[in-house]
């Protein structure tokens, strides 16, 4: 559906930001793009949604090269949307409702459909309860929800999320993770860029490792995260469940609950310490 082919992007000053990137979004339902700060994750996302134009190679949507004209991009961005990291950079109205409705109104939807979609998006992200508050009174986590609602309202098939859990406390991280899982269950394709390994391990099923503008590794989460050296070279670390798998010689678990369950079954430890 969406992939890049030999995508190379060069900054104005000549620095190669992305070097021959081949990424195929069909390899999983929740794709993770991981890499250290400055590895090119954000630049890649901007190339994928057609904001930046690659110097060589291309982005393909439904096996067709995306075109850089207004009409094509307008259609394309209804199918592929993006949530940026900093909510302050994507909220234009101080009225939550108007902001979430922004994209829909740009598409000239009639107001009754706008209303329906906006309320749906607000409920999905848990932003419904504070929809009457002016944006500048919202907390960072709440703004993040509004920003997500604004993109969800578009109801696109593929959603890119740039560092969705950055700066969030554990509770908010959990709730954003839940939103993402729900979206995925609804049949949306999710692409996440992050350097939070535990989050990616929890959410994604297929992972690309980016380092200095190159794809240095890819595979299922289990595959990629067991390659310690690869991750270290990319300036990343392993999720702790993977570390345990390696150091304790236990099977690999996708989440902590299943690990504890296994442990209790194996070692009969009820785990009920207080």
């Amino acid at each position: 559906m969406l992939r890049t082919e030999n995508l190379t992007y060069v900054y104005e000053d000549g620095t190669v930001a992305l070097n021959n990137i081949n990424i195929d979004m069909n390899k999983g339902n929740r794709i993770g793009i991981i890499g250290a700060n400055g590895c090119g994750k954000s630049t890649l996302f901007l190339n994928i949604i057609g904001i930046l134009k690659p110097k060589k190679g291309s982005v393909l949507y439904e096996d067709e090269k995306i075109q850089y004209n207004k009409k094509f991009l307008r259609e394309f961005r209804q199918k592929v949307s993006i949530v940026f990291q900093d909510p302050d950079k994507q909220i234009f109205y101080s009225n939550v409702y108007d902001d979430v409705a922004f994209a829909l109104r740009n598409l000239d939807f009639p107001e009754d459909i706008v209303k329906e979609r906006v309320e749906q998006a607000l409920r999905k992200t848990g932003a419904y309860e504070f929809k009457e508050k002016p944006v500048h009174f919202l907390s960072y986590g709440q703004k993040k929800r509004v920003a997500m609602a604004g993109v969800l309202a578009m109801n696109s098939d593929i959603i890119l999320l740039d560092e969705p859990t950055a700066g969030l406390d554990p509770l908010m991280t959990k709730s954003v993770t839940e939103i993402i899982h729900k979206l995925s269950a609804d049949g949306k394709k999710i692409v996440i860029s992050s350097h939070n390994m535990d989050s990616i391990y929890d959410i994604c099923d297929y992972v690309y490792v980016l380092s200095k503008g190159k794809v240095v590794g890819e595979g299922s989460v289990e595959e990629v995260f067991t390659k310690e050296e690869l991750l270290n070279e990319a300036g990343l670390n392993q999720p702790w469940l993977v570390k345990l798998h390696k150091n304790l010689n236990v099977p690999l678990f996708k989440n902590e609950e299943s690990f504890y369950k296994y442990w209790r079954e194996q070692y009969g430890n009820s785990g009920s310490r207080s």
């Binding site: 209804q78 949307s81 993006i82 994507q90 234009f92 109205y93 101080s94 740009n106 944006v135």
Partner: protein
């Protein structure tokens, strides 16, 4: 000319409404009242004091070479009138500003059929004001912690650095917001 007591009544009524009914803390209200007070005092004094060679105009005056400088009855009446009118107006503006959310005011402005561009800019500027106020406060605090405002020379230096930092951030924000606009299918208009 309306009686000043009428204006005083309006002032007191609105004060009561704002503080008593709308629940705005009295301390905050008084603080707000202090903001225009300097302008009020200076301007009223200016109106109050007149200068003329005719002594008979004045209630109280000082000779100053050939002229007299002092206070006239009309001056006092004008001042009293202006003072209470201003207080009544201030109270009604504060009542509005403190009880009606800006987002609703903007809807009202829209009903006035003001030009679309004007409303759009109003919406956007209102949003950006808070982003920059927040940033401004943070930068200011960081400077203060590093003694940027401990004397006048440093204050000037810090303030210009602060303004520059803000400006640089405005430019960065611009680039980022444009990208975000594109991804949200902006078509040249901010609808509401």
């Amino acid at each position: 000319m309306r009686d000043y007591r009428f204006n005083l009544g309006i002032f007191l009524f609105l004060l009561l409404l704002t503080v008593g009914v709308a629940g705005i803390p009295l301390k905050k209200y008084i603080k707000l009242l202090c903001i225009p007070i300097a302008f009020l005092i200076i301007s009223l004094i200016t109106i109050l004091i007149s200068c003329s060679p005719k002594r008979e105009l004045f209630l109280w005056a000082l000779p100053l070479s050939k002229n007299y400088i002092g206070i006239t009855r009309e001056g006092i009446i004008t001042c009293r009138h202006v003072f209470f009118r201003a207080m009544a107006c201030v109270a009604s503006t504060y009542f509005m500003a403190l009880t009606i959310p800006m987002n609703q005011l903007i809807v009202v402005f829209k009903r006035f059929r003001l030009p679309k561009v004007f409303i759009e800019l109003l919406i956007l500027i209102y949003r950006f004001i808070f982003i920059f106020l927040e940033e401004c406060k943070e930068i200011h605090t960081a400077q203060e912690m590093r003694f940027g405002y401990n004397n006048r020379k440093n204050s000037y230096k810090s303030l210009s650095l602060l303004i520059r930092s803000l400006f640089v951030r405005v430019m960065q924000k611009h680039e980022e917001l444009i990208i975000s606009l594109e991804s949200k299918l902006y078509d040249g208009e901010f609808k509401m």
